[in-house]
Symmetry: C2
Subunit: 411 residues, 2 copies
């Protein structure tokens, strides 16, 4: 029997009625001839309640106890989903992480999956079970303690099961109906994509499109799991949602697939840095140690032995970055005149596999923004992405103009 | 190190503040030089919420899924208690049933404990852990599924751990401060007992004193576990509560230890039954099959081949009993003129180990009730108990009169 993995997030199982609705989708896939592995999150709100208990009890908590506590929400949903399926006469049972067992590292709160033996569940499929309902987000360490994979870890659970069971597809049901060319709240011209490549999805996920956890996309890419994102609130449609797949499964690529915007950015410039070999390491070493996620880095051409060094980071890490750089200056490791912060910027990015073989994308992007009077502060490029920092107030204008210029509303 | 078991019920861990209060009691016992096993229930209300989910989802639920779902409440409390103790610098960790492992039968929803291997927890005590926090009410079957012991099963968990670890005592913290000579709401003269024997406690538990689950008392009696019931809401006092222990540990027994009252009783009489050998089996067989818990049974002297047969059962089982008896009549298995139901009765019982060696208790009971004008409808006796059925409106009067007559307010 082909195995299909279906994952339902917290809003898709928030109430008993929604669990029933999700179970109906599962029943259709069973009727289609699949053995199904359903991965469920906790009912929405439950995990936050439990995390709240933990933080109030012990701000510097023992992560092993944290994991034992917060994993209980998924156990409840898994049991309720199994019961709901049984009520529909579908042979189903629940599996907690330790029952599979889903083996992980001992990095509590952020464990990595090491192995998913398939024999237990495969045996039950052989005995007539049609659906294995798996509690997402959790596993078991070599020490026999419960681990969790970090927030959003249920996506990763689902993809890992799809890889382990060589599933025909992994369907991620969520509260959006797919991946869009840009945020539909910014422009109504935003178009849902039928297909998008793993590489593009990874760039979009890390750039602010909060549809899928980045880790799950990486895992899907590595194991070539066909991943589909679709809404659990829409009518059933076998071709719904967006398929995230290998590049070779997409016949014709747009040069540019999407425009993303991330508003929580800050730009920091060290003015007139005394330039010398190793100066970049002297600056970014302390920043990394302080846990600052430096994104873009620009160094101006050095004049008379001095240069300006600009970088961007999340806006809520600005004071941490300031402290780290100032401390490095006090220790005599770097020498600069001034530290200038701009906390009112946004990052606008174009993403597209087709850029690899097409030139002129960056130039067209810059001209489009210039025509709209949007000043570009920083530029960074990768093989399939061009990103710029602009004043945050231009976010919507920039996205709309780029979406139009690259005609992303057309398939 | 001596091992002490402490059990906290749902109201004692209902909030984070109450968990903290319970943890302080644990810390005192650790300071007294004990290794402590703490057994916790779910925060009060949690289990009912989960049971509600199950019943709404699947009225005829799969008990294996029921157990997987409802056991999650205890897991949360166990983790929170461990964190709270850690915050007080006490080395503690949580244990879920399958981690111990607490091995049970596969009778889901009402599993019986088969074995509690002590090596895992003993090893951790050896490594410096001072408190093992165990999720009550749950275990694991030979098939690797989660089981539960039935409502109130956390008391049983606690006693079973005390037996397995040869604990010096098992303290059950609850919302009452001990076992009373009678219900304090009926008479203010009710006195908290310092000690009570297992046998008396068993009679009182099954007769309506809802302090401890009957099963846990049976288990404590079998393994000679010293059991103490005390309130988690009172100030700390090393001699608080009531000790439930073997008869030989009680120096001087009162003839009568307590008076109990159970209001939810009904009396049913089959008038003019055609008497013949096997008639009792013909009546009570169908009642047992229908799940009626028959308590007292009285057969009048047979006259001219006909007799009256009276029995009592819980008032909410009356219609079930009527149906069973009528069906037996229709099938021709019994022959009676009339079935008379009295649903307005209460059972009043005197319990006391001392009755074994003292005669006259029953006679004094009957005279006391007679003096108060309370008519006795049915009488039943055992070695350490005398029970009567009376009109329910006399419940308080009967209890007060008997409490006075046997001077139970005096130690």
């Amino acid at each position: 029997m082909p195995v299909l993995v279906m994952k339902f997030g917290g809003t898709s199982v928030a109430t008993l009625d929604r669990i029933k609705r999700a179970a109906k989708r599962v029943s259709r896939e069973v009727a289609n001839g699949n053995d199904v592995i359903v991965v469920v999150s906790a009912m929405s709100g439950e995990t936050n309640k439990l995390v709240g208990y933990v933080n109030e009890t012990s701000p510097m908590y023992d992560a092993r106890e944290y994991d034992a506590i917060v994993s209980s929400g998924e156990n409840v949903t898994a049991g309720l989903m199994a019961l709901t399926l049984q009520e529909m006469d579908i042979p189903a049972r629940s599996w907690q992480g330790w029952q599979v067992p889903l083996k992980t590292t001992s990095a509590h709160g952020a464990a990595r999956i090491e192995d998913i033996p398939t024999d237990n569940i495969t045996e039950k499929f052989g005995e007539g079970m049609k659906v294995a309902v798996v509690a997402g987000f959790q596993g078991i360490s070599a020490e026999g303690r419960i681990t969790t994979l970090g927030r959003g870890g249920s996506d990763t659970t689902a993809v890992a099961f799809a890889a382990a069971f060589d599933a025909i597809r992994c369907d991620i049901y969520t509260d959006v109906d797919g991946v869009y060319t840009t945020d539909p709240r910014i422009t109504k011209k935003a178009r849902k994509m039928e297909k998008v490549s793993f590489e593009e999805m990874l760039e979009m996920a890390s750039l602010g499109a909060k549809v899928l956890q980045t880790r799950s996309v990486e895992l899907a890419m590595r194991y070539k799991v066909k991943l589909r994102v679709l809404s659990s609130f829409e009518e059933y449609d076998p071709n719904a949602g967006t398929l995230i797949c290998a590049e070779e499964d997409i016949v014709e690529n747009n040069v540019v697939s999407g425009v993303t915007a991330s508003r929580d950015e800050a730009k920091m410039t060290l003015v007139s840095v005394a330039d010398r070999p190793g100066i970049a390491a002297a600056i970014f070493g302390p920043l990394a140690e302080a846990g600052v996620n430096v994104d873009m880095i620009i160094q101006n051409i050095s004049e008379e032995g001095r240069t300006d060094m600009t970088f961007s980071c999340p806006v809520d890490q600005v004071s941490r970055a300031q402290n780290a750089v100032s401390a490095a200056k006090e220790r005599g490791e770097v020498n600069f005149e001034e530290l200038v912060c701009d906390t009112e910027v946004a990052k606008i990015s174009l993403v597209g596999i087709g850029m690899r073989s097409q030139s002129g994308v960056a130039a067209k992007m810059f001209k489009t923004l210039s025509d709209e009077g949007v000043n570009i502060k920083v530029i960074a490029t990768s093989e399939i992405k061009v990103s710029v920092l602009v004043d945050r107030k231009y976010t919507e204008l920039a996205v709309q103009a780029l979406h139009d210029a690259f005609e992303l509303e057309k398939a």
